[in-house]
Amino acid sequence: MAYKTIVEDNIDILVAGAGLGGTGAAFEARYWGQDKKIVIAEKANIDRSGAVAQGLYAINCYMGTRFGENNPEDHVRYARIDLMGMVREDLLFDMARHVDSTVHQFEEWGLPIMRDPKSGAYQREGRWQIMIHGESYKPIVAEAAKKSADKVFNRICVTHLLMDDAKENRVAGAVGFNVRTGNYHVFKAKTVIVGAGGASNIFRPRSVGEGAGRVWYAPWSSGSAYGLMIQAGVKMTQMENRIVLARFKDGYGPVGAYFLHLKTYTQNAYGEEYESKWFPELQKMVGKEYLDPEVSRVVEFGLDYADGRFSLSPRIYYNLVDDYIQGTPLGAMHSQPKGSDSGEAAAPWVV
């Protein structure tokens, strides 16, 4: 079988990897470069690709300055403490002051965002989270990208960035292959936006066999954000984070929902609430500015959801299943067989 080489030339802006970030970048790029040639190369189909393929039931970062809730500097403080100082605060501040306008545009595009019936503000489930009906979060943003890009190449896995021979230290495009046909694709571009994702399954998970796909981050995340950039000699800023998620037996996510909705906490094998136990020692090591239990505690936002840890009213219970299923349908399902066998549900709030 002969593979073809397909060259796409004269690209002004190439977006390599079009999850929620890449598709959004293509949209924004169209405004600032209205006559530019914008091309997207994505490993899957942009309608359902990236870590938001299945939808999300919350937007996990929203300041709410519009409703007088948080200012960007509050988020900087939260993230600094959360990561014990390993942050570039200027970048955090910049992200935080722009994020609200993005969310407001999503609402204008049709993303259903829940509102607090009393205050009219977006429904909070945590200090930074707002609740959405997000089954079509990705398809909606993908529509915006399809409207904005000149061409969308689906099923192209970008493997390398090309360096410019004429200009030192400048990227001139990217190469990749079609995961279906094996054809080789060359993109010659003036600018490349890498919107590729991180890597999952770096550490061996406890789940084996067909459970191996049941990871928090998408199993198809192959680490392109690192592979592409490091090979091209990019300085990797704020890319040193690894996340190892505690999960519930036979379950997966959204782990945060348990903590936020049901006010649960994690404990170690000795039954200790280890997080708060180690706070004083850790605080001595890194300083109060970088670790402050008072600030990092979840601020409760009068959620009428969690009326006691396991005594949920029918409406609340229904809402939880409803939220849950948009993000992780199987979360609602996997308790089914157990629940019906033992007479009680594996997870009390899910069926």
């Binding site: 393929a53 722009h98 089954e135 198809w220 089914q336 019906s340 069926v351």
Partner: protein, 160 residues
């Protein structure tokens, strides 16, 4: 808990192959029906289940502890702007119907065609604003947050 295909319902149209983010829904060349080629790479994202016009794809529990019999069915309708779930337990005790909106506007119509928008001014290009800013930050006349506007000072370097 990967997907599986009811072979009698599948007509081999390939919608699932087209949408699967993990690229694991393939058409069997002999039977001409879709199947999951690599269950351990399945995220159970339901993209294929929602895309299947024949309702031929389902998702099962882990083989080691969850026998078949339960079901989670889904219908997604862009025209009506809703998604409908039905969860049935194996012993028939639970039968939940859930309906949620997927959009508040006719599908895709509210997204602006940026080619036709007024071009950004030179002043806007030189500023720190993104598209629709500063208006969309607070949906009022307020300007973008800066260190100065928020009464902050940049502290350089690492400090404890």
């Amino acid at each position: 808990m990967p997907t599986f295909v009811y072979m009698t319902r599948c007509d081999g149209c390939g919608h699932c192959v087209d949408i699967c983010p993990s690229d694991i829904m393939h058409i069997d060349p002999t039977l001409r029906r879709a199947y999951n080629i690599e269950p351990n790479m399945c995220w159970e994202c339901y993209s294929c289940v929602k895309a299947c016009p024949m309702d031929a794809i389902d998702v099962r529990g882990y083989a080691d502890f969850a026998p078949l019999g339960h079901s989670v069915r889904v219908k997604r309708d862009e025209e009506k702007g809703v998604i409908a779930w039905r969860i049935k337990s194996r012993n028939g005790e639970t039968d939940l119907n859930l309906l949620a909106p997927i959009t508040t506007k006719p599908w895709g119509t509210a997204i602006p065609q940026l080619k036709d928008e007024a071009a950004p001014t030179q002043e806007a290009r030189d500023s720190q604003l993104l598209f629709n800013e500063p208006k969309y930050i607070r949906m009022d006349e307020g300007d973008i947050h800066t260190l100065e506007s928020n009464g902050l000072k940049m502290k350089a370097g690492v400090y404890y």
